[in-house]
């Protein structure tokens, strides 16, 4: 059986807050499978407390989603393998 690697990447980007989709919202928003985003107000970019809180708010849903997706895939694969074997 092969090894299982876990890769995590966190990006903190400065973006203009004008325009659609980048306005601050309460809580993290899912922007794609396994991708979560939280937008903070401009003045929070050097606020350690707000950054940490934002990171945790975005990380935990990402962790749950990543774990759930992986397990779902693995179960599906195992079932497929089992039915092939039978």
């Amino acid at each position: 059986m092969g090894s299982c690697s876990i890769e995590v990447s966190i990006k903190v980007n400065m973006k203009p807050t004008q325009g659609p989709g980048v306005r601050p919202k309460a809580g993290a928003q899912q922007i794609g499978p396994g991708y979560f985003q939280i937008v903070l107000e401009g003045e929070k970019c050097l606020d350690i407390d707000a950054l940490e809180d934002g990171l945790l708010q975005a990380s935990f849903p990402a962790l749950r989603d990543g774990l759930a997706r992986h397990l779902e895939l693995e179960v599906k694969k195992s079932r497929a393998d089992a039915s092939c074997a039978s």
Partner: protein, 460 residues
């Protein structure tokens, strides 16, 4: 910063020390940068963009404070909190040490107490009171207010009295006793809608010694002196205690807890809280145990308030009687027989009859006359504060300082009064203050805005 860099002859250099953060995500460091001129003088320091720290201090984030101090250290031991915190952050090595956690909790608690002090001073001043809590004018004291706080109607009191009278007759109490008790109908019975119940009490924990002496073991264990030693030696050996004063303010399904370093300090906070909530025109009813200094402080401090009164907690009346009669009388059976009679008289507010009963106890039952005299003195001293508990109970009015006893347990005893625990006074007071912040539901405003709203919390 960019404007500074645009100037010629300036360069960016790494700051000598790293910025240290202790957060909910764990402990981490990062470098900061300074801008220096040709003479190597710092013209801009990157650390000015971040919260100020001193020396090797770690910046503690909101998340850390909430998790480690308010939800952690107030609930369980520092050792367990540090272990849990570092486990939760996956930082078993290089995590927050126990001593740092304790120091942080003490500093945070001291900050809460300092805030209460400053906020009370500000509010007292705003409402026309001196810093010591005395009104600077009649208007400030509310003495110009025309309407009296409402009281329960005569009919309602009369109806309650009939039930009490019936019970007294069932208990075969004498006609004169019933007549005496009937006088209590004339007393004022507050309308709960226009009354603030204020429960104040001191709570003490074992005080930690600065140094361990040779006789540490026997003193720490609180053992009695050897037969050769006299009683005064026992008094000297009494374990020193660290004191917290706790107040619980309640009205119609709302409550608020205040804690402080001294009785007088807490009375100032109470006054500031009542003024801030515009409760000056209501009846203020204090519930205390028999502690003389506490009663005197309350009565003196609020002497200017027209509708302030005090009630001696029924549980403590019974406890005092039991303790003193145990010392005064020969044997448990005799004690219990007299105790039943005396507490029954006091339940109906018959203080003179209770004193007379004490004086008429047969000499053959008495072991220590001094204890009996002490109990009689206690009744006389508290005569003004002993109401007809029976009538109050029948009117569904409170008789007990139970809310503050419960609060004492929540903010101090459950965390600090455990086997083998001892505390420094600032440490105990700080932890109590933090627990009160949590109990009042003000953890978030405190951590994020450094403010504790002087506002009631819904309890029911």
């Amino acid at each position: 910063m960019l404007a500074v860099l645009a100037e010629p002859g300036l360069k960016v250099v790494r700051h000598a020390t790293e910025y240290q953060v202790d957060g909910e995500v764990g402990r981490f460091r990062f470098g900061t940068f300074d801008v220096v001129n040709l003479a190597d003088r710092v013209v801009f320091s990157g650390t000015t963009l971040l919260p100020q720290r001193q020396g090797r201090q770690w910046y503690q984030t909101w998340g850390f404070k909430e998790l480690a101090l308010l939800l952690g250290a107030t609930q369980r031991s520092y050792r367990k909190t540090a272990a849990y915190l570092n486990r939760h952050r996956r930082q078993a090595v290089g995590g927050t040490p126990l001593n740092t956690l304790r120091d942080a909790a003490e500093a945070e608690g001291a900050a809460v107490l300092n805030f209460l002090e400053k906020e009370s001073t500000r509010l007292l001043k705003c409402h026309g009171f001196s810093e010591e809590g005395t009104p600077l004018s009649d208007t400030a004291a509310g003495n110009t207010a025309k309407s009296l706080p409402a009281t329960l109607s005569r009919e309602k009191v009369g109806e309650a009295w009939r039930k009490v009278e019936e019970r007294m007759q069932k208990q075969q109490m004498s006609i004169s006793q019933i007549q005496q008790a009937a006088q209590q109908r004339e007393a004022v019975y507050e309308d709960p809608a226009e009354t603030v119940n204020i429960h104040v009490d001191d709570v003490c924990v074992k005080e930690q010694k600065e140094q361990r002496g040779n006789d540490h073991r026997s003193e720490a264990a609180g053992t009695s002196p050897s037969p050769g030693e006299d009683a005064s030696a026992k008094v000297e050996r009494k374990r020193p205690m660290a004191y917290n004063t706790v107040a619980r303010i309640e009205r119609e399904g709302q409550g608020f807890t205040l804690t402080g370093r001294s009785v007088l300090g807490v009375l100032r906070y109470i006054l500031a809280f009542l003024l801030q909530n515009r409760l000056l025109g209501q009846r203020w009813l204090f519930f205390t145990d028999g502690q003389r200094s506490l009663q005197n402080s309350i009565v003196t401090f609020f002497a200017w308030h027209r509708w302030m009164s005090l009630i001696l907690d029924w549980f403590h009346v019974g406890k005092k009687c039991r303790e003193e009669l145990s010392l005064a009388l020969k044997g448990r059976e005799i004690r219990n027989r007299h105790l039943k009679q005396i507490t029954r008289l006091l339940w109906y507010g018959l203080v003179s009859e209770a004193v007379e009963y004490l004086r008429n106890i047969p000499p053959g039952d008495i072991k220590s006359q001094a204890s009996l005299e002490r109990l009689a003195g206690y009744f006389e001293r508290n005569r003004t504060w002993i109401p007809s508990y029976a009538l109050r109970a029948s009117l569904e009015l409170p008789n007990s300082s139970n809310p503050v006893e419960r609060t004492n347990n929540l903010v101090t005893a459950s965390r600090q009064k455990k086997n083998g625990m001892s505390w420094s006074e600032p440490g105990s007071q700080a932890l109590t203050a933090l627990s009160a912040v949590v109990l009042n539901g003000h953890a978030t405003p405190w951590i994020r805005c450094r403010k504790i709203p002087f506002a009631f919390q819904q309890t029911t």
